[in-house]
Amino acid sequence: MAQLSRRRFLGLSVLAAAAGGTLLSACSSEDVASRVASRHKDGILQVGVASAPSNINPLDSGSEVTRWISEPVVESLYTYDDSLASVPLLADGEPELSKDKLTWTIRLRQDITWQNGDPLTADDVVATLAHVTDLSAGSEWVTYFIGYVQKFHAVDEHTVAIVTTKPYGLMRSHLTNLPIVHKDYVASKNQIMGTGPYKLDSFVPGQSFVTSRYDGYHGDKPAFNGITFTVFQDGSTREISLKQGKIDLITSVPYRDLNAMKNESGLTVQVSESPLDILTYVLMTREPFNDDNFRRAVAVSMDRAGVVEKVFGGEATTGQGPIGPAELGWDPSLQEFPATPDYELAKSLLAKASTTRRDFVMTIGANQTSKDVAQVLAAGWSQIGLKVTIEQLAGGPWSNKWLGRDYDMLMNMFQSGFTSGPANYMTLAPADSTNVLSCGYHNEEVNKLIAVVWQTFDDAEREDALKKVNRILAEDAVIFPPAYPRLALARRNEITPVDEQMLRVSRIEFQNLKFATSG
Amino acid sequence: MLQVSGLRKHFELAAGHVGKDPVVVRAVEDVSFAIDKGETLTIVGESGCGKSTIAKMLVGLVAPTAGTVEVAGRMLSPDRTQDDRRLIQLVSQNPWSALNRRRTLRHALEQPLLAHGIGRTKADRARLVGEMVERVGLTDRHLGQLPAGVSGGELARAVLARALLLSPQVLVLDEPTASLDVSVKATVVNLLLDLRAELGLSMVLITHELDIARKLADKSAVMYLGRIVEQGSGEQVFDEPRHPYTRMLLASMPVADPEHRRLPEGLGEVASAIAPPPGCAYHPRCAYAEAICGTAVPELLLQGDRMLACHRADELGLPSEVAAAHAAAGVPLPLHASSPADPQRATGGRQAYDDPSDAPVPVPERTKT
């Protein structure tokens, strides 16, 4: 025990020394610049990420943890253009839709080869779909297809047909986000075989991932000889490594350091609106949140301004309903809740509440941001006499609470760009009383609107339905996140900027980055 | 009063190597003796001869391998009952360690009363303790002290008091004075003499201090490597020793006059109890050893006026011869030629001991300052 503690003290002093060292090295930014320049001679982009997946299969997880690493390796049938419209990538042109809108016929490009040299065929797409619709495979994608997709098959070597049970307009979005993987690798948890410009050569679980250029890539020739991802779980370590020029780009800049990082020379902090949500659910089937007045009291006394300023350093928008500024259906005119808590209103609502409970448990994910948010909110709620217990859980146990409907209030950070693009359809799932994730809210209108969102082929109709749902859920105080944080990353000025438009769908698009020409 | 017969204790030492038979140490071999009420038996011998084991067997701390202990007609079981324990009590060697160092003397003295349910109330017990404390020459003031706060002599008295609180018939004293200063020894011995007379106690005194043994002995037994080699009245054993070992012991007593000093007639060190010599255990050291001594173990037999275990008892046993030998060797005769006719002993009166510090209630001694 003493050993561990000793190590901890050592760790701290090393950290302190590192911090001191950083201050020193900041004075000599030319040294850093020359170090970066000499490092870049190998043509490799060094990326620092916050965490590493245990399972690297991009078909299994839509989280940014997995997908940022697989982004340069795999591609999907369709992709986003500069205006975030869906355009063909591996597909050869727009899909052909049958008259009853139930059968989609997709032709594939014939000039595509996998990174092992095999040609892309319809069998690969079928294998991919089979994997993500297989309940036993444990893919996160299963929720996007189950109930809608009836069957799929290869029509010929380069044509795939997908038959749905009912009109499924949202499938275009899914096909724009779902990576297509070589048929022999769809179930692999330690190998990725894609068609992208970089291929995964090797990785050390939890530590580093090494990719190199795929010379047979069908698109523009990749700019780097390779991209290496290194995991730095500690935010400060990530930042120091960037400052010292050991890496070129870091994801997940700790929000509390944003302002300090913005002032660093040689670095650029890129902040963008993004489908990054603070999932916030209350269980309406039991006390105290089954009480409308209690729920409203909690919602109006939520310290939104405190969260925006203290946790996100101002890089967030005050929260209202479930849909944020980077997402389809965003309604800036919706101002149901004040930015600063209205404690008087909350107290009068509480007085009207039939529940006598003045306490609840807030179950949050195991990350610092969630913890900070929870602490600020709890401090605010204590002003109206609510005793909040914060319970911090790792991903698995947290999800179990959600699925088992065993919570008072659930909260976690969730980035949806890799599954839903510029939207977050899953955020709404708990509001649908027919959904397995239902939080106990029952509103036929909401159920219908959510069905429209999934089924319609008309984007304007979908957006309109989303707006309506968003407003209802805010007004009924069902889903009321404290803020919509922006996505923040930082890069050295020696590489070109990340496309801000793509950050709106969570994409960094490493394959499109280049070394900046010095000047 | 106390009847001991065939007492035997064998210890098994773990074998040095796997598969070997364990080594058996015969610490005590076939020891028998008896004492009457008010009588004192002293058991003398060198360290390691089994004296202390006998003491432990007598009070039930060690279960005998064989043999019986009978007090006042009652056969004591190996697992002593509380009633068995009340009959025979122990005063252990070192007063410094005989009492719990973190408990007051009062606590220590209350233990026998509590254990045996003597004295119904706290006040009763306090009275009994107070009386006993006074009897052994301590005061109430000592009772509040921890053992470290009082002197060795006072501690010895406290230990004695504790044993006496159970009103035992027999008191076993295991080296009661060995760790005390000379001046204190005298007071303790005098106290024992007093108590014996007052209470009619029977005592078994185990000691290697021959002067003390001689002082207190009505009967005496001499032990060598677990066996009694000579047993008789105090006068017989101390004044007219017959066994070569007894003679050697008495001869080795420190002598004040260097001109009279001479080497005892025995030779060498005590033999090992783990591997005792064959035959008579004493024969390697014995000046009179013959062939038979190396082969046969001599039995303890009545030889005239006493019991002896020696093959040559007949030849060496004449008292006059012994006295002559003593004179020739320059060994002084015993300090006091205390005979049974001694009027003071006979009346149980106080006998002066050659010590100036002898006083009925001594001032607190400082043995360690």
Partner: protein, 315 residues
Amino acid sequence: MTTTVTSIEPAPVSPLAAPAPKRWHRVREWRAAIQGFASWLGVGCLAFFLLIATVGRIGRDPEALVTLGAEAPSLAHWFGTDNLGRDVFARTASGAWTSLLISLSCILLAVLIAVPLGMWAGWRHGKRTDDIIMRGLETMQALPMFIFVMFIIMLVGSKPIDIGPFTIGMEPRIAVCLALGFVPFFARIARAGTLVEMQEDYVAGLQVIGVKQRRILTREIYVNVMPSVWVQCFLGIAIAIFAEGGLSFLGLGVAPPQATLGNLIAEAGSQIIGGAWWYAIFPGLVMVIGILGFNLVGDAFNDNVLGSRGEAERA
């Protein structure tokens, strides 16, 4: 076997203080223990730590957001404020209190379990009971204590447990888990102490008198085993504060927003980068001072109360 008295100097008794009550012996012993610079430094550190943990908490809310963001130490906020705008002094004081409570209750509980167990094993030395107890404790010790505690906490989980009207939060659970980790440590001390005492003449003496074995164990041997246990408690508390810090550091500690020294330092580690040195320095300093205090005082008692005997019993 008869060297018992040698290490304990008999305190000279003046006839005036004659019927000295038992307690006096102890006070004298303990006062005699505080000798030398290191010991006094330890007492000073301990006093400072206890002052922060008790008086320091009065009238301060460790969870209130008092400033907009992190602020450097000032007259209003002696230790500055953290990124959420909470007073670091208030959090440090409250953290010290929580850490102290957890450590104290953990050690007390450990002693409560370990001493009877250890003494029983010592009493039944070489017999089956001793064997079973010691094998059990060895099994617990097979894992390094910290890993063992982590394992237990993982098993127990971190969600509040409701037993009737009572909710068992994280603090008692950490205390219990840490206590389990300490049981072998104290049980060994108690067993070793009992073994040594069993050899003492007074135990045989009491047996001859007819005092029941259980009574000898609980009334006589017990008082001689406990001093070395108490002394080890001081060191135990220091280790427990450390361990609680380690658990909080790994996120297995008490739930936010409750502060402990461990989670304050854990959070501070990643905040130093922003130049907010006060986050880590002050709670860290208080923790180090507390641990130092408990250690030095424990050492002083060990050296001066138990002397070489204490050494032997610990071996």
